[in-house]
């Protein structure tokens, strides 16, 4: 049942033209960053070669590119999550799910999985682009895997939060702006606290992504992402339940 909703959500993302446009533009931007980074790396490569423990292509090219992907995902995910519940409410299609023999858990998890499938597509396409480096050099697979894992977890937590914001309103645009504002707020928390290691820096998902980005697989970060996702998914389920009581 969850899968039915997930697949429907996944397909309906592709039914609107703007999704294709965004995916296309995104690939273009990623390719641009990737090539610019690669170009810079090739220019300093001869100097790097003289260093004793020089950074390889993975650390110098792949990791920064995937760091940028993380930043762009932060701005993009609200656009995809905004519709998921807010638009159903506005078009009154939520009633269909509410009166169908599925529970709120099915609905929320289904939507979450549908969105994640779509985001996985974007993340995988970036990874494939980075993997083309393997044609010219030896890649650090460990670093790539932690980066990929980090991206997926980051996307999942943004999606969970975006889904929750979307469940609060009947206007997709409000959901998008709200989610974007919160993501930016969390990001600002991280960059404002980067110099003096403040404890509230730990609140920002981006700060936990940093350790994945440098190849560190830290259980604290894993737990943070899991808790973040579960919290907001539970809040969304609760919100849908309240929808039956108060609206």
């Amino acid at each position: 049942m969850t899968l039915t909703i997930a697949l429907k959500e996944f397909r309906s993302l592709f039914a609107i033209p703007s999704t294709w446009l965004i995916v296309g533009a995104l690939q273009f931007i990623f390719a641009w960053f990737f090539l610019a980074r690669l170009d810079a790396f090739l220019q300093v490569q001869s100097q790097l070669a003289q260093l004793a423990n020089a950074p390889g292509a993975t650390l110098a090219v792949a990791a920064p590119v995937l760091g940028t992907v993380a930043l762009i995902l932060m701005m993009l995910i609200p656009i995809f999550t905004m519709r998921s519940i807010a638009e159903e409410r506005r078009n009154q299609t939520l009633t269909l799910l509410m009166s169908a023999p599925v529970s709120n858990i099915h609905i929320v998890i289904g939507k979450f999985i549908g969105l994640m499938l779509f985001l996985l597509l974007i993340i995988i396409s970036c990874l494939v682009m980075v993997l083309t480096l393997a044609a010219g050099t030896q890649l650090d697979t460990g670093l790539l895997i932690t980066n990929a894992l980090g991206l997926i977890l980051l996307a999942a937590s943004y999606t969970a939060l975006g889904l929750y914001i979307s469940s609060l309103t009947a206007q997709p645009v409000v959901a998008a702006i709200g989610a974007l504002a919160i993501f930016f707020g969390l990001w600002l928390v991280e960059i404002s606290a980067v110099d003096n290691d403040k404890p509230w820096r730990a609140l920002a998902p981006t700060s936990h992504f940093q350790s994945f980005n440098i190849g560190l697989l830290n259980s604290t970060d894993l737990i943070f992402f899991l808790l973040f996702c579960i919290t907001f998914l539970l809040l969304t389920i609760r919100r849908l339940h309240n929808n039956r009581i108060y609206s």
Partner: protein
């Protein structure tokens, strides 16, 4: 003679439907539903019962609480108090089993505009747990019933309002639910579409139980077996729609006689209480509810050559009854 036969047929239909409504299993029962929005109580203890093969019309002004009640019956809204049972499953304790027995068409048909009709119906079929192997059959069958055979590949957003409504109904019946709940199914349709959809609802009523809400009285007259009138969140009147037409109505008929006798002669017929001449050839004859003098009158007319032309029973229109009942409630 002819009248007798008609009368007999009418009686037997009445008794058959009465018999059916006693023996048919109860598919939906709601007890003392209460619903508040904020501090304001909008539904004050509604109880409903629906039997298999019955079409129930929920009648009421705008804002009487019809949609809220129907949404509670489908589980889209939770009642603050009261119980709902669907085919023996409690809607609140066993929501998934109970909801599998319901098909619901809300006021605004819940359609994903970007999907094609086929995709949408397959999605709803899966949502209602139809086994994968049976989905193609259910799809063909449902499209056939709703007149959507040629629209399968069309995108829902491009369909006309009438066809969207059909897709909405198709969505509600694809899983062969025991109870079909339709919220104002004919609003915004043109007369031909209204007729089609009414025929469809009538057909559905034979195999499923149907509840429909409406503020159109003619709709109730045409398709419902039973009527419940809702007013300010209460059910204030419930009866069969034929009975409702007799509500507050003096029995009688208007007879047209081209060669009428003297008034006193009509007055003398057994059972006649009052004769009012409406014109030189038309008379309104009032009688007690159980003694109908029409047969005697026609026999006399034939005997004496009064040239009987027309005999029309007096019928209060449902509209008048509805107004009368809701007016009574206000006083």
């Amino acid at each position: 003679m002819y009248n007798d036969i008609l009368g007999y047929i009418y009686l037997s239909i009445q008794s058959a439907s009465a018999l059916m409504s006693v023996t048919a299993p109860i598919t939906l029962s709601a007890r003392n539903l209460i619903r508040r929005f904020g501090q304001r109580e909008v539904i004050h203890g509604i109880s409903l019962e629906l039997r298999h093969g019955e079409v129930l019309g929920l009648l009421g002004h705008n804002g009487a609480g019809k949609s809220t009640t129907l949404q509670m019956l489908t589980g889209a809204l939770l009642p603050h108090a009261g119980e709902i049972e669907i085919c023996g499953f409690d809607l609140i304790r066993q929501p998934e089993k109970a909801k599998a027995q319901i098909g619901f068409l809300p006021e605004t048909p819940p359609l994903y505009r970007e999907m094609s009709v086929n995709d949408f119906l397959i999605f709803t079929a899966k949502l209602h747990r139809i086994p994968r192997a049976q989905i193609p059959d259910a799809l063909t069958e449902t499209k056939h019933r709703c007149g959507l055979q040629d629209s399968g590949k069309k995108i829902i957003g491009t369909l006309s309002k009438g066809y969207q409504q059909r897709v909405g109904i198709a969505q509600a019946i694809i899983h062969q639910p025991a109870v079909i709940i339709l919220d104002e199914p004919t609003v915004g349709l043109d007369p031909a579409q209204i007729r089609d959809i009414r025929t469809l609802i009538r057909e559905l009523g034979n195999m499923h139980s149907v509840i429909l809400s409406t503020h159109l009285l003619s709709e109730v007259e045409h398709i419902c077996d039973r009527v419940e009138i809702m007013h300010h969140g209460r059910l204030i009147y419930g009866s069969s729609s034929t009975k409702m037409q007799q509500y507050g109505n003096q029995s009688g008929f208007i007879v047209t006689l081209f060669a009428p006798p003297a008034l006193s002669e009509l007055q003398a017929i057994a059972g006649v209480q009052q004769v009012d001449p409406l014109s030189t050839t038309q008379f309104r004859i009032l009688h007690a509810t159980h003694t109908n003098p029409s047969a005697a009158l026609l026999a006399l007319a034939a005997q004496h050559g009064w040239q009987a032309e027309q005999l029309v029973p007096l019928q209060t229109r449902l509209e008048d009854v509805f107004m009368q009942i809701t007016q009574d409630e206000k006083l």
